[in-house]
């Protein structure tokens, strides 16, 4: 291999004399054997971004090209794991090196010694033609998740041999294939894929089912589809991370990939410590069995942060290709963009807006484009849903990252500082958020839960909008100026906010709300609103309505009744009706 030498060190960016190397190639730098990636070429010189600190590196030290691009290791053993942005296994690193991450330590992402119980696919026979994406067999990766071992996308040919059921290490051969161009290929449980290249599929489909998260403001008001793209912008402390963690906990996806990109170490510890103890509401198994973490915290080297997003989405695509619904959460895409900006700056590229390079928008779009529901090469169906947090400087949504992201995604969950300041969580603003997936979601809700869903949702949003206008009037002339009907609208809008939109992640009962309960609550509140209006038309005073005991119960219904207690909510609905009827009667008798 042709080696080269370091000629300049400028922070994480190293220049080396390294003729013949390719853009994107991995290299080892210096005596410390730091890992890096070639990101630019100038004559015989290569520009290298180094994933580790370059402290004490000197010009003149050796650089070795490795001949392959940054690639993810794919195979059983990923789930439950935690990796850094270039897929170094953080648990194994701790076992070997203690609490700090040393430089130049090279450990494989996946454990080579562990044996996995492999069951070959029934219908495959030697002599059969096989192609990329076909299922060779399976491994029960965790109790909750079946890992299908696929023919790598670039392999096609005659199956010569398929291993029988048994326990195999990752690198042991489980199949041999005669390929027309590359001779005989040996396949194992382990494959690699370059992270910056999307994995292929046969066809893209439209999303059909909502990604359920158990959060009312998301599922009921601003739905996202499986295979969709969503963003959560918000100022610091508004609740982006909490919301993403809530989604990671309660979503009805098969696999969750959580990428901590330039954020706090403690937030990952929180997941690592709490998820194993929590049960997945769908499979009944420990949540950690379907979860995988990529962690490049804010104090870890910036360049690996840029790579972490691509690693995450490659892992997501790999499970998608096995026919799973995968959600990848990235916290925060702004830190990824900043890493991009930092490297661009050191390369001397022309900044266009707020220091970001001109290709920011296209890189963002290309990343989100990897979301989708697809027909896999193997003939199945799978999806990758991407949800990115955005951290706009000063909470200003007109800044480049938020702005470009908004153009790309389908569902926008805008977090509001004023809601967060009033401890209204999730602080998703109902005026600034949007979802392009309401129609598709409505089909699902109408079939699965209730035909009234869309109407109820619309009524609730209209009510909130009307109350917002009325509150402007109140601020000018006081509440006395409102008609009884208007007052009722203002009061029930407050009820919508308290009884529906607010949902504390920390509340044991209310942290997860099933779709049935979501609709029951929505229906209760909007039903009350309508019946109340009728009574007001018949001159029942608003104050009498507000004193109904059932109203106080409704306000607390979300955390008094669990997801199984739908009967209690039906009872409440009846109680409300009875109390209202009684009230109507009283006033009918009173009136002359």
């Amino acid at each position: 291999m042709n080696r080269g030498t370091v000629t300049q060190i400028n922070g994480p960016l190293v220049q080396a004399h390294l003729p013949g190397v390719a853009n994107g190639e991995q290299v080892r730098v210096g005596e410390m054997q730091l890992t890096g990636e070639v990101i630019g070429l100038e004559g015989e010189f290569a520009l290298i971004q180094v994933y580790e600190s370059t402290q004490m590196l000197r010009p003149g030290e050796e650089v070795t090209p490795l001949g392959y691009p940054l690639s993810a290791e794919l195979g059983p053993g990923l789930l439950g794991g935690i990796f850094d942005g270039v897929q170094r296994p953080l648990r194994a690193i701790m076992e070997q090196a203690g609490e700090h991450i040393p430089r130049g330590l090279e450990l494989p992402a996946l454990d080579r010694e562990q044996r996995w119980e492999f069951t070959p696919a029934d219908q495959l026979r030697a002599g059969q033609e096989i192609h990329g994406g076909m299922v060779l067999g399976q491994v029960q990766e965790t109790e909750a998740v079946q890992h299908r071992i696929l023919v790598p996308p670039d392999v096609k040919g005659e199956l010569l041999e398929l291993a029988g059921a048994g326990n195999y290490r990752l690198e042991e051969t489980i199949a041999r294939v005669r390929t027309p161009l590359k001779g005989i290929r040996e396949l194992s449980l382990l494959q690699r894929w370059p992270v910056r290249r999307p994995r292929p599929y046969t066809r893209r489909d439209d999303g059909i089912a909502p990604l359920l998260t158990g959060q009312r403001i998301l599922d009921t008001f601003f739905p996202l589809l499986k295979g969709g793209k969503g963003a959560i912008p918000g100022p610091f402390g508004a609740g982006k991370t909490m919301l993403q963690q809530q989604i990671a906990r309660w979503t009805n996806a098969d696999i969750v990939i959580y990428v901590g990109c330039g954020e706090r170490g403690n937030e990952l510890v929180d997941i690592l410590e709490s998820f194993p103890e929590l049960t997945d509401p769908y499979s009944g198994r420990s949540l950690m069995e379907r979860t995988l973490l990529v962690a490049n915290t804010s104090n870890m080297p910036v360049v690996a942060r840029e790579a972490s997003i691509y690693l995450g989405v490659t892992l997501a695509e790999y499970y998608r290709d096995q026919g799973h619904d995968v959600v990848m959460l990235a916290d925060s895409t702004s830190r990824w963009a900043e890493a991009l900006r930092e490297v661009a700056g050191r390369l001397g590229q022309m900044p266009v807006e707020e220091g970001y390079p001109a290709y920011l928008a296209s890189r963002l779009a290309a990343f989100y484009e990897r979301a989708g529901r697809v027909d896999t090469l193997g003939g199945g169906n799978g999806s990758v849903t991407l949800i990115g947090a955005v951290s706009p400087p000063g909470g200003d949504f007109s800044e480049p990252v938020t702005n470009h992201t908004k153009d790309i995604i389908q569902t926008f969950w805008a977090l509001s500082k004023s809601l967060a300041d009033a401890r209204h969580y999730p602080s998703v603003s109902w005026t600034e958020s949007f979802s392009d997936a309401v129609d598709a979601a409505a089909r699902w809700w109408s079939e699965q839960i209730s035909p009234d869903w869309l109407a109820r949702r619309t009524q609730a949003l209209d009510l909130l909008a009307r109350a917002e206008e009325l509150s402007r009037i109140i601020n000018l002339v006081g509440v006395e100026a409102l008609s009884p009907g208007q007052r009722w609208s203002v009061e029930t809008a407050t009820l919508v906010r308290e009884a529906l939109l607010q949902q504390s992640a920390l509340d044991e009962v209310d942290s997860y709300c099933s779709p049935q309960k979501q609709f029951a609550l929505l229906d209760l509140v909007m039903g009350l609103y309508q019946q109340g209006r009728e009574l007001i038309a018949r001159h029942v005073p608003v104050s009498a309505l507000l004193e109904l005991p059932a109203l106080a119960r409704l306000r607390r219904a979300k955390n008094s009744y669990g997801n199984e207690q739908l009967d209690a909510m039906i009872q409440l609905k009846e109680d409300i009706r009875t109390q209202l009827d009684k009230l109507a009667q009283e006033y009918a008798e009173d009136s002359p």
Binding site: T7, Q8, I9, N10, G11, Q15, S53, T54, Q55, M56, L57, R58, P59, G60, L90, R91, I93, M94, G98, E99, H100, I101, F236, G237, G260, G262, N266, V269, D270, L272, E273, T297, S298, N299, P301, V302, E338, R341, E342, G345, P351, E354, G355, S391, P393, G394, G395, D396, D421, A422, R423, H424, I474, N475, L476, G478, V479, L506, A552, R555
Partner: protein
């Protein structure tokens, strides 16, 4: 290379020294510079190539000339010698004594930049620290290993608040107090004296290691000072098993020094001229707080950040808020009303509070009481705003109660003396006293059981 002295300066400006013809210098290397008066300066290599080496000079480049500047490359990063004798001492930004006593001698030396902690090795912070201050303990609790900054402004009493936190902080049911690492960047003489005297009067001076860069000391030294101080803190916490409270004041001067050097280097400026890496750079500092598995000690960090023109969206407080685990925001308005501590409640937050309070830590009702106080005060502020437009008398009865609540909340709950050390139970009891001004129906954040037990509604006044 270490022994050799080079005279090869080709340029010197705004804190940067450029050297030609010394190939093979390590990036990050520590440099010793002798100027024409024979005085020593310290530098660090921030770019190294075969042709050119760029050195950042901590004491600045004023008064250097090119011909009589001698440079030695020490072949090592900046390191701090570590020993228990750090406590009770005063140092400059690179750990040299500032107190006329001999330097620390120790075989144990560590690179001041530290190494990133493996997230897997961290232990989640969850032990409640009682600061004795209601605004913090009741609503924005601090836990051991948290980084919780104070966002302040010129003329606001952040020093007094920090001193009170240092004096009063303790763990419930534990005798051991904190040792303190005090890192000052750009501090005025008066403020430095205030802290020194406060520590001395309280007899804690022997438990404090001070790293001081005063307002008239070279600004570039501020870039290395918090790193040096945190290296000391890590040693005290994770080698000596102590609970360490780190005060960093004022991070705004730190960030300004960073901007100064970045501008000189020609880095691409982003908002308000700060370099794009301000976030990552500050994160390297703030993320050194925390707890680590199997280590008894901890680093709790209280940085002071003054908000230029009281603007919380200014890049320094903004990026700090994106890194730290909450913030205590001080309010000029409350301060003008002579209310101490003038904590602006709505934008203040402690993210680690949820795991440090409640049944086994403080009291069972604490999480809900905090949430309810926040919600009620937010509503009360809205009403106060409305009252200022349409007049108090126009308001419905309930709204008038909210107005009373807001006033009493500020005077009874927020306000306290700089020496008043309230137990968290006292704090919670005051909270219920205030919530009892409001009818139970509107208190939807607390449980029915809480209401039955603590709420003493008497139909108002």
């Amino acid at each position: 290379m270490k022994a050799k002295e080079y005279r090869c300066a080709s340029a010197a400006r705004t804190g940067l020294l450029f050297l030609k013809g010394v190939p093979g210098v390590a990036f990050g290397d520590r440099v010793s510079i002798r100027d024409r008066h024979g005085r020593k300066r310290n530098g660090q290599v921030i770019l190294s190539s075969r042709e050119l080496v760029m050195v950042q000079v901590l004491e600045g480049t004023d008064d250097l000339n090119l011909d009589d500047t001698w440079v030695r490359f020490l072949d090592e990063p900046f390191e701090l010698p570590l020993s228990p004798d750090l406590l009770g001492r005063v140092f400059n930004g690179i750990g040299e004594p500032r107190d006329e006593r001999p330097p620390i001698i120790s075989r144990l030396r560590r690179n001041v930049n530290g190494e990133p902690v493996n997230p897997v090795a961290r232990a989640y912070p969850r032990e409640f620290i009682q600061t004795g201050i209601s605004a913090i303990d009741g609503l924005n609790s601090l836990v051991r290993g948290q980084k919780l900054p104070i966002f302040s402004g010129s003329g606001l009493p952040h020093n007094r608040l920090v001193a009170q936190i240092v004096r009063q902080s303790r763990l419930l049911g534990e005798e051991s107090r904190f040792v303190v690492v005090f890192a000052a960047m750009g501090l005025s003489y008066a403020d430095a004296r205030f802290f020194r005297e406060d520590f001395e009067n309280n007899g804690v001076l022997g438990n404090v290691a001070m790293f001081i860069n005063l307002a008239d000391d070279p600004p570039i030294e501020r870039l290395i000072l918090p790193r040096t101080a945190l290296t000391a803190a890590e040693y005290l916490a994770f080698d000596l098993d102590l609970h360490v409270l780190v005060i960093l004041t004022d991070m705004t001067y730190y960030a300004e020094a960073l901007r100064e050097v970045a501008t000189a280097k020609g880095d691409v400026p982003t908002r308000k001229g700060y370099p794009g890496y301000l976030y990552s750079d500050m994160a390297e500092i703030y993320e050194r707080a925390g707890r680590v598995h199997k280590r008894h000690g901890s680093i709790t960090m209280v940085p002071v950040v003054s908000m230029p023109s009281d603007d919380i969206t200014h890049p320094i407080p903004d990026l700090t808020g994106y890194i730290t685990e909450g913030q205590i925001v001080l309010s000029r308005e409350l301060n003008n009303q002579h209310l101490y501590p003038p904590v602006n409640i709505p934008p203040s937050l402690s993210r680690l509070m949820k795991d440090g309070i409640g049944k086994d830590d403080t009291r069972e009702d604490h999480p809900r009481v905090a949430s309810q106080l926040y919600a009620a005060y937010a509503k009360a502020l809205e009403v106060r705003n409305l009252a200022s437009i349409i007049g108090r008398d126009e308001l419905p009865d309930l709204d008038q109660r909210y107005l009373d609540f807001a006033d009493r909340f500020e005077q009874r709950f927020l306000a306290q003396g700089p020496d008043e050390d309230r137990s968290v139970i006292q704090t919670l009891n005051i909270a219920w006293e205030l919530l009892s001004l409001l009818p139970g129906e509107v208190l939807s954040r607390v449980s029915e059981a809480d209401l039955a037990r603590y709420h003493h509604w008497e139909g108002g006044k």
